[in-house]
């Protein structure tokens, strides 16, 4: 186990800057998630750490040792690939033993460690099979085993659950969490799935356009997003972001006062999460007027989609789509007039131009509807 550090790592592919001076430190034994949309640079960062690609500039350290110019085999890391990359011409045993044999581990030690790992991952019955004879979940476990058996300094996982169906993904997610508790190796996990990101990691690094947007715990990322990108990316459904304004020290959306913010008058972006919204009648004071678009019943709750004339310019203005999470059984006719109110302390304010969260957080000075 070891700490991993990126120091000003940049990577350019022709005219495309895939990574902009990435600075990131992963503590010994930590489970860090790199999350972001496709093309945000998360897989590039992982490949650079694995040594499968070279950075344009910057330095990578593993256990305090610079490894930027070292080959993949010299870094003592293990990687689980999205499609598992199991060697098709080798049995499960040979797949697990391959890395150890490359490092000239004695035969008895290879046998012992392969069997130990196979038992840990419950694949000891599959050791004689070829990868093509395994199911998706079994292949995933063999891929994990191939990484585990080497006892590397760090695990790199590149979207390892993306090829599994939804049910299996939930199960393997739990397995991964349990496995990290039992074998607490420094792990860096790349995903675009925010549920995986929020449930698995000790910390999450949200990336976009080759830059780190925010690093923090699930609580930090969800409840204290640093900008509109993080607010809009994390959460399902994501945070509602509508144009508003600060006028006279009050945050307003479509004329409704939502929170106090001691700040000069200016346009802002106001955010509120679907579960923090309450839907009332259109006559309620201090509520955001909206028109129901449609409802999505999901069993445990109903997602109510509505259109808010957020900039207060009247029916000619461009309406913003807002999603509210309502109790089961909630039903509205399309076009019905309603008013949204936001739970106390749950209004987020971002600068309209930069998208950065407005300090201090508006939720501490909220006036509820």
């Amino acid at each position: 186990m070891a700490e991993v550090e990126f120091r000003g790592i940049s990577r350019r592919f022709g005219d495309v800057q895939a990574l902009h001076s990435l600075d990131l430190a992963v503590a010994d034994g930590e489970f860090l998630i790199l999350v972001g949309p496709s093309g945000c640079g998360k897989s590039t960062a992982l490949r650079l750490l694995a040594g499968l690609d070279k950075p344009t500039s910057g330095e990578i350290l593993i256990a305090g040792r610079p490894v930027t110019r070292s080959g993949p085999g010299e870094r003592d890391i293990a990687m689980v690939f999205q499609n598992y990359a199991l060697y098709p011409h080798m049995s499960v045993f040979q797949n697990l033993a391959y890395g150890l044999r490359q490092r000239r581990t004695p035969r008895a030690e290879v046998n012992r460690r392969v069997h130990e790992t196979a038992v840990l991952l419950d694949i000891d019955e599959l050791l004689d099979r070829k990868p093509r004879q395994l199911s998706g979940g079994q292949r995933q476990r063999v891929a994990m085993g191939r990484a585990l058996v080497r006892r590397p300094q760090a695990f790199l996982l590149d979207e390892p659950l993306s090829n599994l169906d939804a049910k299996l993904r939930t199960q393997v997610r739990g397995d991964l969490k349990r496995l990290h508790r039992e074998v607490p190796v420094t792990s860096i996990y790349v995903t675009h799935d925010q549920v995986e990101a929020m449930t698995l990691g000790d910390r999450i690094c949200v990336m976009s356009n080759g830059e780190v947007q925010q690093i923090g715990t699930t609580d930090d990322i969800y409840n204290r997003p640093s900008n509109t990108f993080v607010a809009g990316f994390m959460g399902s459904p994501p945070m509602n972001l509508v144009p508003g304004e600060v006028r006279g020290g009050t945050v307003r959306v479509a004329g409704a006062a939502l929170a106090d913010l001691p700040s000069p008058d200016r346009p802002v972006t106001v955010g509120f999460r679907p579960e923090d919204l309450r839907i009332g009648g259109p006559w309620e004071s201090r509520s955001v007027p909206a028109r129901i678009d449609f409802c999505e019943p999901l069993g445990s709750h109903v997602l109510v989609h509505a259109l808010v004339d957020a900039d207060g310019t009247g029916p000619e203005g461009t309406p913003s789509n807002v999603i509210a999470q309502a109790p089961p059984g909630t039903a509205y006719d399309s076009g019905a007039r309603v008013g949204f109110s936001v739970a106390a302390g749950k209004t987020y304010v971002f600068d309209a131009e930069t998208g950065q969260a407005a300090p201090p957080p508006a939720r501490d000075r909220v006036i509820t509807a």
Binding site: A50, G51, L52, G71, P72, G73, E74, I77, A78, M79, F81, Q82, N83, A85, Y87, P88, H89, Y98, G99, Q102, R103, R146, R150
Partner: protein, 296 residues
């Protein structure tokens, strides 16, 4: 047909008669084509069982009155066929092994390794495929002669080395393996590199075991080409001890008369090893040709 008739013919239960061939229409093309291809082979076998008189008769004798199996023994004893077969086998084996090693290394480099000028070099290599052998024949002869004079006599004119040297690697072999290597998922190679395997190790432990169809096909094609080569041995070999089978068959071809039955018996004997190679490798031919057609 009136609308009512048309409607009634389309009613449920009514059957539309369609005239169908009892075999695939493709057979109408394939059967005559097969016939055209197989006739020379059959003729060769028939002639190899005839007497010299029957072979020269017109109209041709299609079924020999008294098939002469002895033609095969006569052919074997008239010319040193054992030496010819041995020479052909040695040349084919050396050329095949060398092609598999050199073409796989070069093909892998072109498929995966990024180096300065790789695309330009590959284009030049491809361009050489379009140059007919007749154009390069004389320069290659001079090069081989130079090798014989300056490096080793065994590589020079009138030695088996002269048959091997120009064929140790081929542009086609490099191209063929490069195309196949590109279909091997790159993640497998990356996983092996993370597991501590060198570049060469990745080629020999991961890529080549997964490329057996392509390697087998290249081996079979190289054996066929080497075994059947006539023009190049004709240019560089005059000594009977160094002759290969196709060249040795010219023993039966005189300036004034050709012993057709013995020549054809020799031909049939020279064909047997190639038929065996083809039958064994046929399965891989299909796999590798289908594989290289999918990508690259």
């Amino acid at each position: 047909m009136t609308t009512a008739e048309l409607t009634s013919s389309l009613e449920p239960g009514s059957t539309i008669r369609r005239w169908r061939l009892p075999f695939s229409p493709w057979h109408l093309v394939l059967v005559p084509l097969t016939f055209v291809l197989i006739v020379p082979l059959l003729w060769m076998v028939v002639t190899s069982l005839q007497t010299q008189g029957e072979a020269n008769r017109f109209p041709p004798v299609l079924v020999p009155h008294d098939p002469r199996i002895a033609n095969y023994a006569d052919a074997w004893h008239t010319a040193p066929f054992g030496t010819f077969f041995l020479n052909s086998t040695v040349v084919a084996l050396v050329v095949v092994v060398s092609n598999l090693v050199v073409c796989s290394l070069a093909g892998y480099a072109f498929a995966r390794v990024r180096f300065l000028g790789s695309k330009a070099l590959f284009l030049v290599l491809m361009a050489t495929l379009m140059v007919p052998f007749q154009v390069t024949m004389i320069p290659v002869f001079l090069i081989v002669k130079w090798f014989g004079d300056n490096v080793s006599t065994y590589l020079g004119i009138d030695h088996l080395g002269a048959l091997m040297l120009p064929n140790l690697a081929t542009a086609f072999g490099i191209f063929f393996l490069r195309q196949f290597f590109q279909t091997v998922p790159v993640e497998l190679e990356e996983a092996a590199r993370v597991d501590g395997t060198s570049r060469l190790g990745v080629l020999f432990k991961i890529v080549l075991p997964l490329s057996m169809p392509a390697m087998s096909t290249l081996a079979a094609l190289t054996i066929l080409t080497s075994w059947n080569d006539f023009l190049w041995p004709l240019i560089v070999i005059t000594n009977a001890d160094q002759m290969t089978v196709p060249l040795g068959l010219s023993y039966f071809q005189g300036a004034h008369q050709t012993n057709w039955p013995l020549l054809m018996a020799g031909n049939v004997m020279s064909l047997v090893p190639m038929l065996v190679v083809f039958v064994v490798a046929q399965r891989y031919f299909v796999q590798s040709v289908a594989g290289t057609g999918l990508k690259g």
